[in-house]
Amino acid sequence: MAKNVKPRVKVPKSAAAGETITVKTMISHKMESGQRKDSDGNKIPRSIINRFTCDFNGQNVIDVTLEPAISTNPYLQFDAVVPEAGEFKFTWYDDDGSVYDTSKKIAIG
């Protein structure tokens, strides 16, 4: 389990019904690529977030497969349609099996 993994998400507090909004997400994670070597010449094993999903009221917005070429502290920005008031659910899947999630509410108005 990677330490100090903290998801951060930016979503507007409210939107008009049917409006397209921009969502920004970032999670603190070292994203060890599996290519680097330590001082003794041993390969440091890969340890990354390999998948990210975003759902709104149970409907999928985006599902991203991440590879080792994604930078440390993976940042993702995308657009979502908000048909009604509800909650975004964000989920990150770690190589070690850990799952990190967070959610954000959005109102119509």
Binding site: T22, S33, N60, V64, I70, Y75
Partner: protein
């Protein structure tokens, strides 16, 4: 006698030599394998997809990349010069606002970054751009 003021113009004329963009065969086949796995061998046409990347990236550890392809079901990003070319695959769901994504990637050296979109009608579109990773040439 008055001295006329002299303006010194620092010439910025500086030729930037572009190295030939021949990638290593081992990498090329990895890229082809990744593309084939994504497209299933279907033809890929260029156009209808916008890949936005900096021309020169000062730090290869975090290169901002933006890709958008209206009407795409999913978009795959490839860094053709990396040891592992696959970068990310965006799969868009029913509530996706625009078929676009923005992230930050690692590039080991100057190389072509490629995006392939699978459109909703089953066809494939691609775009590529060169990102210069090392600082060099003018004012380096």
């Amino acid at each position: 006698m008055t001295l006329s003021r002299r303006d010194f113009v620092i010439g910025a004329g500086c030729g930037v030599a572009f190295a030939s963009m021949t990638s290593l065969p081992a990498y090329a086949s990895l890229v082809e394998d990744s593309i084939a796995a994504f497209t299933g061998g279907a033809d890929v046409v260029s156009g209808d997809i916008v890949l936005d990347a900096p021309e020169i990236a000062e730090n290869g550890n975090t290169v901002p990349i933006e890709v958008s392809a209206p009407g795409a079901a999913s978009i795959m990003l490839l860094a053709t010069g990396n040891p592992v070319p696959a970068v990310a695959t965006f799969n868009f769901g029913p509530l996706s606002g625009s078929r676009s994504g923005n992230t930050r990637i690692r590039l080991i050296k100057t190389q072509e970054v490629m995006a392939i979109a699978k459109m909703e009608d089953g066809s494939f579109r691609s775009a590529q751009t060169t990102v210069k990773v090392t600082i060099g040439g003018c004012g380096g």
